[in-house]
Each structure stands twice: as structure tokens, then as C-alpha cells.
């Protein structure tokens, strides 16, 4: 798959989610933070975006911690996103 295709697929999975909270957060993250991630972090984000909302939400709001260090880094960045 080309980069454009991969990015568009990721965009769809970030902005057509079950919960509005997640559409807003992941969409904002994709525009503002994702372009500056390292390749390893970017891969971790793709995996996070593939999670279901009720698995991901507790990781984002800190109710649960991730045991994977790269994933934890990306989650920390995600948690700092502010949607206006």
C-alpha cells in the first residue's frame, strides 16, 4: 500500500469510531501530532487506532496503564491533545 492509502485508511479508522470522544481525539492527534512521530511510535499509534473505543478510552484517560513502553509514550502524547 502507498503512503497516501495507508494514511487515508488510518484517517478513516481515527474519525469513524463508535464514540464521538474518540473521533475528536484521534482525529486531532492525526493532524497535529502523528506527522512528527518516529516510525516506531507511528506503528504503535496504528495499533492503538485499531483498538475498540472501550479498550482504548481507559488507556487514554489514565484509568489503565500500558505495559508497552512505546505505546505508553504515544498514549502520553494522546492524553495531552486538547480538542477545541
Amino acid at each position: 500500500m502507498e503512503d497516501r492509502e495507508k494514511l487515508n485508511r488510518l484517517r478513516w479508522r481515527c474519525t469513524r469510531r463508535a464514540m464521538l470522544e474518540m473521533d475528536l481525539l484521534l482525529g486531532e492527534f492525526l493532524e497535529r501530532v502523528y506527522p512528527s512521530l518516529t516510525p516506531v511510535q507511528a506503528e504503535a499509534f496504528v495499533d492503538l487506532a485499531d483498538m475498540e473505543d472501550l479498550e482504548l478510552w481507559p488507556l487514554v484517560n489514565g484509568a489503565r496503564a500500558s505495559s508497552d513502553p512505546v505505546q505508553a509514550e504515544v498514549l502520553a502524547l494522546l492524553r495531552n491533545v486538547r480538542v477545541k
Binding site: E5, R16, R17, M19, L24, L25, G62
Partner: protein, 594 residues
């Protein structure tokens, strides 16, 4: 282009939508031995049904005495007498059966000490015909919708339902006789356009809450089923009725639960006044949803809104002990920080009444068959869930009745397909010549448009127009002006331009196609609302006030009827409300007061 230019796949039944209603219908069909395809824009368990936390209602009577007839009464009253009483009786009677069935499918309901399904109280649920609150809501912690989808999905996997994930249905296929023969759909991963030719087509595409600027609905709710039905010449029913939740975060729309006001949260205007004391001296901030929403809009309209544009009010919990907030409302603090940029321990949260649920939809009967204006079924076409209007919610939905609607009418639509096939009412007919013409022309137009309108900007304008002209509190002149504005926006939608013309994973194209559906829903809503000159349920007009002759502004003599909007010429028609239940006496018209 002709029909030979797109591939055709054949199924007994095609279901569009894999939320609660689509998955429930699919179980009936696949277990009934039909070759069944389910199309979804997203993986099934990522459908919006996941967002439902509150629960699903059924008069199981597990905690105290309850009866389906009481549930029926509450639903008729909640609907402000616009719901069809045959469908409401059917739904409330079926509720215990479908909930217990769901339990057998593996739904992890909360339980009582004796191991029965635990039931909690919920607004509007009463015993003995409105006498006192009753526990009727069944839940799986705060993840009822999520758990429900998982249980239904697993059952479908077992039944060999075939899923087409990340496919978008674009249009219905209908022949000259009006029979529905399937859908045309786009596979996002390849960009391929395919016909799903079927004996029966079930719409379960969910709501269209994204027509409003401020909405609790996820981005996926673009009303595709409504757009497809309208383009195929079918009417949309009661589209002026949208339920608003008083406290969505201003801008983002994210829901702040009633529980915040339950814990002592106070609504304030720009002068810091606790304005609810003026509107509801007793209940104050805890008055019912519509009363609070209307008060908030009145404050904003009269110039006492907050912020640079004076377009929101404040939900204040700064007077609460931070320990209480951390303990009782931790999720709300997170939401407020992330979506309003405000720590509610230190500053109040900006909130506005926010669109939450669509009561109207594609007209169906209680069997889940889509019906023409005269009540006759449209052959081969069925619908269930938020896209459909059975009509059980009438002018206002009762909390937890939507998840119930998905189960009951998902199931009944599946049963109707099987019955209609068995009785020979429907069968596989040939596709008409050039059946894909209109759809391919629409795609072609989008690919070749130059100098056209930007999709995001046009959508935003549509949403702002709906919010301003057709929101929670409606004004005669604003509505009339709103109709004119929407007609202008429709012109822009017809000329949208996308820069990306590629085939594979072209999300810009998909978003433009979603906008084609949003505009149909917006027109139906604005035109229907402009025409209905009374206040009823969620449709509240400034020029239809509360008077002794018309309590709450409701005018039964002239307006006790369903609206039908047709896309062609934006024409309106009306049909009577079905007041005769299936077996019990009519619940006669009465003023709705709580």
C-alpha cells in the same frame, strides 16, 4: 454507462448497517437459512451502538412489580401521543422476550443477588400508568451498547453471516414497480463499485445527528440510509423531531451526564446568575431535559450567553469539594479537560443543548417493513433502529427505548423477510436496465467537478445553519429563513469538489458522498419543522406557546398527524397517527405533564 460496467453479487438478503439493529436482523436471517450479507462503514463492533451506556428497557419485573402495559403507557406519553400505538404495544410486549434472548446470546447483564437481571430506575419509567417510578432499565455496567454488540456479533459469526467491512452503500436499487432489489456499494479499500442484488434489503444505518453543529453523535452518523431512501423516491417521516440533551460540551458536543447536576452542578449565565431558578423554581437545574434546554437557549438568545460569541452557558461545579469531584465525577473531569480545555475544579464548563437522537426516519410498520404513504409495504424493503420510524418514539424518545427498538424491530424485520419470502410476496427479480446509472453519474460528477465547493466547509455551513435555524427552540422567521439557506447549501453540495481522484482508500470521496446524505436529512428536517405550526415533544416553537386551549403549544385538532417529506420538490404530505393498539384500548390523548 450501463449495468454491465459494475459487478453484481447475489444474496437472499442484504443488510446495510452492523449496529445493534442490523446485527439483530442478521441473526434472524442467517439462522433462518438465508444467504445474508451485512455491509458496514466500520467493523461491526465499532458501530455507534457502543456509545449507549444507560441501558435497555423491559418490564421484567425483577426488582418490583412491572407490566408491559405500563411501559406502553409511558412510551405513548413520552412520544407526546405521536407514536403509533400498535407499534408501541408490540415493542413493549416483546421487550422481555428479546432481552432474555439477548441474555442467552451471552450478554453479561448486571445481576441481582438471586442471579436475575438487575434493573435500575430511569427518567420516564413509571408503574401503574404514570403513578411512581419503577426499575425497568437493564444494563451491563456502563457498557451496555458495547456488550450488546459483542454478544450479537458472536452469534452472527456462528450463523455464518457474511460481513463486508469498510463498504459504503451508495444507493438503493428499485425497479419501476417500486420493488427494492438491493443496493449499490463502494468498497473503500479498492474503490470498486458493486451491486448487491437481493430478494430483501434491510436498512439499519443508524441516525443522522451530524446534521447539527453541536451533536453527541459520532462522526459516522451521516444519515446514509435516509439519503438513499429519499433519493429512491421514498418519504421520510417526522423528521422535525430531534431530541436534544441539555449539556453537551460547547463546540465538541461530548455529553456531560445529568449526574453532574445530580451532584450539585449549577447552570449560570454571563451575569453569573443561577438562571434555572427563574424557569423551574422547584426542580431548578434538575428540571426535565427539554425544560432545561429551552431555558438555556432563551438565555443565549436574550444576550446572556457566555464567551466571545455569547453562545454558551456555564455548568459550574467549582463550589463542590474537589475530593467529591475526583471521587464521583472523575470521567467528567477528564472530558472537560480534554474537550473544553477546562479543569472543572477550577472553572465552570461551557455547555450548550446538543442534538442527541433522531425520532423520525424511513416509515415502517411494527413488522419492520418499509411502508408507502397508504400503509402498504414497499416490496423487498425493511428497516430497523434509529434510521426507521415505526413509529414508537413519536415526538420524543424515552431513555433506553432505543436499544429496545433495535432488538425488537431488528428481529421483526428479519422475521418479515422470511415470512414474505415463504409466502411468495418477494423473490429475486431481474435488475432493471441501467440500474446503476444515477449512482455512477453521481460518482462521475464528483470526479470531474472543477471550481466547486469544499466538502468540509459546506458541511460546516450546513451544520451551523441547522443549529441556528432549527435547534432546540424554534422561531417562525428563523425557520423560514432556514429553508432558504438550506436550499442554497444544497446547491453547493451538488457542486462539491475533491482534489484526490484516486480509487484506493479515497476518504475525501467517501466524505463527499456522506454529505450528499446529510443534505437530504437537513432539508427534510428544516422543511418539516417550518411547516408544523404547533409545539409537540421535541419540536418547540416560540409562536406555539402554552395556552389553555393548546397546553404546551400542542394543537391536536390540526397537527395530530405524521409528517411525510418527499425529496422531489421538497413536498410534504401527512398521515394519521395509529391510535388503535393491537389488543388493548387506545391510550387517549391527554396533556403531557410530569
Amino acid at each position: 454507462m450501463n449495468k454491465l460496467s459494475i459487478p453484481v453479487r447475489k444474496f437472499d438478503a442484504v443488510i446495510v448497517g452492523a449496529g445493534g439493529s442490523g446485527l439483530r436482523a442478521a441473526i434472524q436471517l442467517s439462522e433462518g437459512g438465508l444467504k445474508t450479507a451485512v455491509l458496514s462503514k466500520v467493523f461491526p463492533t465499532r458501530s455507534h451502538t457502543v456509545a449507549a451506556q444507560g441501558g435497555v428497557s423491559a418490564s421484567l419485573g425483577n426488582s418490583e412489580e412491572d407490566h408491559w402495559h405500563w411501559h406502553m403507557y409511558d412510551t405513548v406519553k413520552g412520544s407526546d401521543w405521536l407514536g403509533d400505538q400498535d407499534a408501541i404495544e408490540y415493542m413493549c410486549r416483546k421487550a422481555p422476550e428479546v432481552v432474555v434472548e439477548l441474555e442467552h446470546f451471552g450478554m453479561p447483564f448486571d445481576r441481582t443477588d438471586e442471579g436475575k437481571i438487575y434493573q435500575r430506575p430511569f427518567g420516564g419509567h413509571m408503574s401503574n400508568f404514570g403513578e411512581k417510578p419503577v426499575r425497568r432499565a437493564c444494563a451491563a455496567a456502563d457498557r451496555t451498547g458495547h456488550a450488546m454488540l459483542h454478544a450479537l456479533y458472536q452469534r452472527n459469526v456462528r450463523a455464518n453471516t457474511q460481513f463486508f467491512v469498510e463498504w459504503m452503500a451508495l444507493d438503493l436499487i428499485r425497479d419501476d414497480s417500486g420493488q427494492v432489489l438491493g443496493v449499490i456499494a463502494l468498497e473503500m479499500e479498492t474503490g470498486e463499485v458493486v451491486a448487491f442484488h437481493s430478494k430483501a434489503t434491510v436498512f439499519a444505518t443508524g441516525g443522522a445527528g451530524r446534521i447539527f453543529y453541536s451533536s453527541t453523535n459520532a462522526f459516522i452518523n451521516t444519515g446514509d440510509g435516509l439519503g438513499m431512501a429519499a433519493r429512491a423516491g421514498l418519504p421520510l417521516e417526522d423528521m422535525e423531531f430531534w431530541q436534544f440533551h441539555p449539556t453537551g460540551v460547547a463546540g465538541a458536543g461530548v455529553l456531560i451526564t445529568e449526574g453532574v447536576r445530580g451532584e450539585g452542578g449549577i447552570l449560570r449565565n454571563s451575569t453569573n446568575e443561577r438562571f434555572m431558578e427563574r424557569y423551574a423554581p422547584n426542580a431548578k437545574d434538575l428540571a426535565s431535559r427539554d425544560v432545561v434546554s429551552r431555558a438555556m437557549v432563551t438565555e443565549i438568545n436574550e444576550g446572556r450567553g457566555c464567551g466571545p460569541n455569547k453562545d454558551f452557558v456555564l455548568l459550574d461545579i467549582t463550589h463542590l469539594d474537589p475530593a467529591t469531584i475526583m471521587k464521583r465525577l472523575p470521567g467528567i473531569r477528564e472530558i472537560s479537560i480534554q474537550f473544553a480545555g477546562i479543569d472543572p475544579i477550577k472553572a465552570p464548563i461551557p455547555v450548550v443543548p446538543t442534538c442527541h437522537y433522531q425520532m423520525g426516519g424511513v416509515p415502517t410498520n411494527y413488522k419492520g417493513q418499509v411502508v408507502n404513504e397508504d400503509g402498504s409495504p414497499v416490496p423487498g424493503f425493511y428497516a430497523a433502529g434509529e434510521v426507521a420510524c415505526a413509529s414508537v418514539h413519536g415526538a420524543n424518545r424515552l431513555g433506553t427505548n432505543s436499544l429496545l427498538d433495535l432488538l425488537v424491530f431488528g428481529k421483526s424485520s428479519g422475521d418479515s423477510v422470511i415470512e414474505d419470502l415463504r409466502s411468495g410476496n418477494i423473490g429475486l427479480k431481474d435488475l432493471p436496465a441501467n440500474f446503476a446509472e444515477r449512482t455512477l453519474a453521481r460518482l462521475d460528477r464528483l470526479n470531474t467537478q472543477t471550481g466547486g465547493a469544499n466538502v468540509n466547509e459546506t458541511r460546516l455551513e450546513l451544520q451551523r445553519t441547522m443549529q441556528k435555524h432549527c435547534g432546540v427552540f424554534r422561531f417562525k422567521d428563523m425557520l423560514a429563513e432556514g429553508v432558504a439557506r438550506i436550499v442554497d447549501i444544497e446547491k453547493a453540495v451538488a457542486r462539491t469538489e475533491i482534489k484526490d481522484k484516486s480509487q484506493v482508500w479515497n476518504t475525501a470521496r467517501v466524505e463527499a458522498l456522506e454529505l450528499d446524505n446529510l443534505i437530504e436529512v437537513a432539508k427534510a428536517t428544516m422543511v418539516s419543522a417550518n411547516a408544523r405550526k404547533e409545539s409537540r415533544g421535541a419540536h418547540v416553537r416560540d409562536d406555539a406557546p402554552d395556552t389553555p386551549a393548546n397546553p404546551n403549544g400542542r394543537d391536536d385538532i390540526n397537527w395530530h398527524k405524521h409528517t411525510l417529506w418527499y425529496r422531489e420538490g421538497s413536498r410534504l404530505s401527512y398521515k394519521p397517527v395509529i391510535m388503535k393498539p393491537l389488543t388493548v384500548d387506545t391510550i387517549a390523548l391527554k396533556t403531557r405533564s410530569y
